[in-house]
Structure formats: structure tokens, C-alpha cells
């Protein structure tokens, strides 16, 4: 029997987009509140060039840094949809024209499963994209 490779992904929402990131990189998910631990934040929507007034961030996804700094980084999210295992066949690469034109190294593909459509974010690049 052929065993399909699976990947565990954390699904979350940012303004205008549903995203997914490798769950192995997720250290913790905390509510965004006044007692949120002091940590550098990344506004993924800003990094992707999404400018909107309507931002309702409620959660902070804390990703572990994989190379270089050992300092974790927080990614702002409007909503956490959960962690789920997906077969490799649910992953799609970026279309050639998008891959050639994207102004950001963060989107690396899509998760396509039943009704689900998520932009796959390179969590390792994101974790290491924090300002020094």
C-alpha cells in the first residue's frame, strides 16, 4: 500500500485571506490582549501588501524561529480555524505566472481540500522575517 505524505497545517484568517502555515513551526497561540507577552509582531497582511482599515486581530500565532535568531515571532491573526492534517495531494504550487510575479517570498502555494481554499505561507521565511 502506498502511504501518502501528510502535512499538519494551522489554518487562520487575516484581512481578505485565509492562510495556512506548517503547524510544526507553531509554538503557541495566544489571545491578543493587554497582557500578551512582549514579542515582536508581524502583520502578515501588511507584508503581503493588503491595505485595509478593517483589521480585527484577536490572536497571536507564536512561531519558532528555525535559523539564526532563537527569538520567537508573533503573527497577527483575526481568527484561528484550527490545525488539521492534509495529504500532499491537497497542496498546490503557485501558478507559473504568479510565482514569476509575486512581490513577496511568503506565499508558496495553496491548500485545496473540498471547499477549503487557503494561501500557504512559508512559515520559516515568516519566522525569520522579523526585524533585528
Amino acid at each position: 500500500m502506498i502511504e501518502l505524505a501528510t502535512v499538519s497545517l494551522l489554518k487562520f484568517k487575516i484581512p481578505r485571506l485565509r492562510c495556512a502555515v506548517d503547524a510544526q513551526l507553531v509554538q503557541e497561540i495566544v489571545p491578543l490582549a493587554s497582557d500578551t507577552p512582549p514579542i515582536s509582531f508581524i502583520d502578515l497582511a501588511d507584508r503581503l501588501g493588503i491595505y485595509t482599515e478593517k483589521k480585527a486581530y484577536r490572536k497571536l500565532i507564536i512561531l519558532q524561529s528555525v535559523c539564526g535568531q532563537s527569538v520567537p515571532v508573533g503573527v497577527l491573526a483575526e481568527e484561528i480555524e484550527g490545525i488539521e492534517d492534509f495529504p500532499q495531494t491537497a497542496l498546490r504550487r503557485l501558478p507559473t505566472l504568479v510565482a514569476a510575479n509575486t512581490k513577496s517570498p511568503l506565499p508558496i502555494g495553496f491548500l485545496l481540500a473540498e471547499e477549503s481554499f487557503y494561501l500557504l505561507i512559508d512559515g520559516e521565511a515568516l519566522a525569520d522575517a522579523q526585524e533585528p
Binding site: 510544526q24 505566472l97 511568503l106 512559515g123
Partner: protein
């Protein structure tokens, strides 16, 4: 270091190849799909490169791409980019028309949807009726995406050069 997800996705780089009708005999028949651009006349593409004609439908938003990539859509379980030909060629558009269509096209490894204002006709012509673009044609992002033209019913149909179109779409950041 390449991420685990990136390795799983392993995006290949598409290669671009040659001419549309090079190697065709003058009497060989060629199917041409014709669409109209209100401010640039009629445009032809080889039917053999068109996989499907679809009505315009809502797209998935794609961030961090130029304005001529309108978004992405799911086509036969693949995710393809939707390119607005008027924006790519920097042709002003009078606005969205109810006749607008998505042409699902392929060139080499690239599959993409081309949003066109209206599909006019599908004709069969002999390759000998094609003319190369005159060398005197001014160089611009618009003209270099055409590789020739044909006269039909007192109208000029400009033939889109898919190789150049894909190249322009991939380089025109």
C-alpha cells in the same frame, strides 16, 4: 534552507519555446479564435492553445501580484492565474462587459486564464494567409506581444504571440 512545504510543492520553472506557425506549410489549416478589444481591434489566438471558454466568475484573491493578475481560479483541480489582457497590454478598457469571458489557455507548461472583453468568432484559415508584423511597427509592450496579422472580411486580425505574452506576463513586474 528550503522549507518542508516548499520541498513538497517543488515548483518547476517553465521553459518557453518557439513560433506559432513556423514550420507550417502555406496550405495547412489553422483554427483561430477571435476576440475583440474595444480599443485595439480584433485579436486572434490559435484554437489549439485554447482549452476552454468560460463565463466570468468570482476569483480567489491573490496578494502581492501586479494589477494585470486579477486573481486565481480553480480549473480541473489546478489553480491557475487569471490575466486581464487589457491591463497587461496597457490598453484602456471601457469597463466590464457582460460578454467578457475567461479563455483557458496553455503555452508550454503554463496554463492560465485570459480575461477578454468578448469572443467574436472561431475560424479556420490557411497558414499562408498569415503575415508577419512589419519591421517598421513601433516597439512597445503592446506590439511585441503580436507576431503577425491576417486580413479577413476587410478586417485586420492581429495574431497574439503567446510566447511573448507569457514572457511579458512573467517579466512585467
Amino acid at each position: 534552507m528550503e522549507s518542508r512545504l516548499k520541498k513538497m510543492l517543488s515548483t518547476p520553472v517553465s521553459s518557453l519555446a518557439s513560433d506559432l506557425w513556423s514550420g507550417l506549410e502555406a496550405e495547412e489549416q489553422l483554427g483561430i479564435l477571435i476576440f475583440s478589444l474595444p480599443s485595439a481591434g480584433k485579436i486572434g489566438v490559435p484554437v489549439s492553445n485554447v482549452d476552454e471558454i468560460l463565463p466570468v466568475s468570482p476569483l480567489h484573491f491573490m496578494p502581492a501580484v501586479p494589477d494585470y493578475i486579477l486573481g486565481v481560479m480553480i480549473w480541473h483541480l489546478e489553480i491557475i492565474a487569471v490575466v486581464d489582457i487589457e491591463k497587461l497590454l496597457r490598453i484602456s478598457s471601457p469597463g466590464d462587459s457582460k460578454m467578457a469571458r475567461f479563455l483557458i489557455m496553455h503555452w508550454e507548461e503554463s496554463v492560465f486564464a485570459l480575461k477578454v472583453p468578448a469572443v467574436s468568432d472561431i475560424v479556420t484559415i490557411s497558414a499562408g494567409r498569415m503575415h508577419k508584423m512589419p519591421a517598421s511597427a513601433p516597439e512597445s509592450s503592446r506590439t511585441h506581444c503580436f507576431q503577425g496579422y491576417l486580413e479577413m472580411d476587410k478586417e485586420t486580425i492581429s495574431m497574439l504571440d503567446l510566447k511573448e505574452l507569457v514572457k511579458t506576463a512573467a517579466e512585467n513586474i
